[in-house]
């Protein structure tokens, strides 16, 4: 399969009062053309930082200390980490677009949606006339199942959360990007609106042959949309695999713990098991494997060295030295 994005050995740090926060540590990750990759992790796992680094939109306190991000699409090839600002501006949105978490904050409350779209387009110096822009926007709004005439004339507060989210998705698609990054696209929405967004994303992906990176804490979103899942813990990837491998044959104790701790509604009732302890302090990370203080499979070796991703089977990687025991269901 063809790589559209390749992240190589990426490290990102934040400066905080107490010290350096190691938000992303040594991430290697590929995104294939046309796939949906879900990056799953809890708060502080570094998933949002990783997403922001792909379009180099990190806050000023963050620094990419090491690593490369290669993008190859539309017949172009870039290394994103080394792009300067003027080239970044041509790159963002045209090649990779991001839809952010808080759909309300993305809009200026006192200007109408159409003016917001025009402003955004102008600030990215897009070579489109007003008329061309309008035609394109109308088409996209219809694609996301909104009534274009009504929406464009509205102020942000006149739209529901789900509608605003759909506007943002349409806006992200304006310049036909190859990749869309969605950061918690449905978190603030109610269940029925959430469903409509999920259906919409499936439809768009099919129609436009997009590659999608879905960043979420919610396992069920990954189960619903993803082809592949990458699980993050304390800034590193601990497991990467197909959605079925991750959910039915997890090979990392953390992934396994998450899946055993999350209830389902329509599946049959089963006993859930919680993960003991709490996520580590990113400034004072434990030695060795970062999950070992909470791990039931821990042995002495786990404390010595942090394991790298190991290939367990085709397209299935885990950062656990005891993955074979986990696969065989043995813990001794």
């Amino acid at each position: 399969m063809e790589n559209i994005l390749k992240i190589e050995d990426l490290y990102i740090e934040y400066k905080a009062r107490r010290g350096l926060v190691k938000a992303v540590r040594g991430v290697d990750l590929d995104l294939y053309k046309g796939e949906t990759l879900a990056v799953i992790g809890e708060s502080g796992s570094g998933k949002t930082t990783l997403g922001l680094s792909i379009i180099k939109l990190l806050p000023s306190s963050a620094r990419i200390s090491q690593g490369k991000i290669w993008y190859q699409g539309n017949g172009k090839k870039y290394e994103i980490v080394s792009l300067d600002n003027s080239r970044l501006r041509k790159f963002r949105w045209k090649e990779i677009a991001m839809v952010f978490q808080s759909a309300l904050n993305a809009f200026n409350p006192v200007i109408k949606i159409w003016d917001h779209i025009v402003d955004t387009a102008e600030s990215h110096d897009i070579k489109m006339t007003r008329e061309e822009l309008r035609v394109k926007v109308l088409e996209l709004l219809r694609l996301v199942q909104l009534d274009p005439e009504r929406v464009l004339k509205s102020y942000p507060h006149e739209l529901s959360g789900g509608m605003r989210q759909r506007v943002l998705i349409a806006l992200a698609l304006l310049l036909d990007p190859q990749i869309i990054i969605l950061d918690e696209p449905t978190t603030a929405l109610d269940i029925l609106s959430q469903r409509s967004i999920l259906e919409l994303l499936k439809k768009i992906k099919e129609k436009l042959n997009l590659s999608i990176i879905l960043i979420s804490h919610d396992l069920s979103l990954a189960a619903e949309l993803a082809d592949r899942v990458a699980v993050m813990y304390a800034g590193s990837l601990v497991e990467v695999g197909s959605v079925y491998d991750i959910f039915y044959k997890p090979l990392h104790p953390y992934t396994m713990g998450l899946i055993r701790a999350v209830p389902t509604v329509t599946a049959s009732m089963r006993e859930l098991i919680s993960i003991p302890g709490s996520p580590p302090d990113l400034i004072n990370l434990p030695e060795g494997c970062k999950f070992h203080p909470r791990c039931e499979y821990k042995i002495e070796e786990c404390l010595k060295e942090e394991p790298k991703l190991i290939k367990a089977s085709y397209n299935h990687y885990t950062a656990c030295i005891r993955w074979e025991n986990i696969r065989n269901g043995k813990n001794n």
Partner: protein, 332 residues
């Protein structure tokens, strides 16, 4: 089972506006709510944001006064109680909020937070006794070793630990009833289950009664499997019944839509769901409610002339399983 809390025809309206230029408007947040909770029972109230579930929780905890209707505590209307009686009620019903960051006073230590109610209400007679009682409470909520937590400030604790302090605080006055308002939704996935298990242990060990308010159907199912569930939509209860019955055999179109819409943390289950096509994607505003059944403008089974004309009655289709939908009118 003895009824500990009973709501009779409860309505709660808020008025907004009413200045010089804005006309007064009435928000009908709750209308004609009837429910009863037995001693030692778990009652889950599910619904989307804005459906009135939090308001119901506050009414039951006596933190808000209803516009009309009665709230009975062991058969007595709480707003007609004498001072002493009301105090007993107030101390018997405690609330656990959603946000562990705003539910603890940032400038007080765990010791201060727990000792104040103990000393104020003479649960303990001396400082020595107070410390004993506090360590007992911290042990119940699994904050051990106690010395590591007792003098900490909230900002020195993780989200899960804070929520445990909040629960310990709710237990200081030996309550019989706890209103848990989205008590785990702000916590990390790996932490949620441990808090849920803590609450379940309170039910088991102290025969605690719970009103569990949540938008997360899966959590409601896991926590409230032995109890009842009430589904709310725009200020009305649309379905009530024993949890297994409601989730396995939903009757109200809204409940059905919710169960089909909710994504599940299981790829096969979630991908095999059929989506219910609603007639409108957007939740109506409380200021502009549809006539008749409040779900009628979105419901795919809507019968014109009936659903959009008459307020639905509550029908008992199975023992203890009620639904507020006129489509079942003939069956009963």
């Amino acid at each position: 089972m003895e009824k500990i809390i009973e709501l009779k025809n409860i309505s709660k309206f808020f008025t907004i506006g009413g200045g010089f230029f804005t006309p007064k408007k009435t928000l009908r947040v709750l209308e004609n709510l009837n429910l009863s909770i037995g001693k030692g029972e778990i009652f889950c109230l599910v619904g989307e944001s804005g459906c009135g579930k939090t308001t119901t929780g506050k009414l039951i905890a006596g933190l808000l006064k209803p516009t009309s209707g009665e709230i009975l505590f062991y058969g007595k209307d709480i707003w007609k109680m004498g001072k002493e009686e009301f105090k007993t009620y107030r101390r018997s019903v405690q609330i656990v909020h959603q946000d562990p960051y705003s539910s603890l006073n940032p400038i007080k230590t765990v010791y201060d937070i727990l000792s104040t109610p103990l000393l104020k209400h003479h649960i303990v007679r001396s400082n020595g006794q107070c410390e004993e009682k506090i360590s007992e409470l911290l042990k119940i909520v699994d904050l051990t070793p106690v010395e590591d937590f007792i003098y900490k400030y909230p900002h020195q604790l993780s989200g899960g630990q804070r929520q445990r302090v909040v629960i310990a605080r709710a237990l200081t006055l030996n309550p019989e009833f706890i209103v848990a308002d989205e008590a785990v939704s702000m916590l990390d996935v790996s932490i949620r289950l441990s808090i849920i298990k803590l609450l379940l242990s309170l039910k088991k060990n102290f025969d605690m009664t719970f009103l569990f308010i949540t938008h997360d159907l899966a959590m409601a199912k896991y926590f409230g499997w032995s109890g009842k569930i009430g589904v709310m939509y725009l200020g009305r209860l649309v379905e009530i019944g024993p949890t297994p019955k409601v989730l396995e055999n939903p009757l109200h179109p809204y409940t059905k839509a919710l169960l089909l819409a909710v994504p599940e943390a299981d790829p096969e289950v979630t991908r095999s769901k059929k989506v219910m096509e609603l007639r409108s994607l957007d939740l109506p505003s409380l200021l502009n409610l549809p006539p008749g059944c409040r779900f009628s403008n979105r419901c795919p089974f809507m019968e014109p002339g009936r659903c959009d004309k008459i307020e639905p009655n509550l029908y008992e289709l199975e023992p203890e399983h009620y639904v507020a939908c006129e489509l079942y009118g003939e069956k009963v």
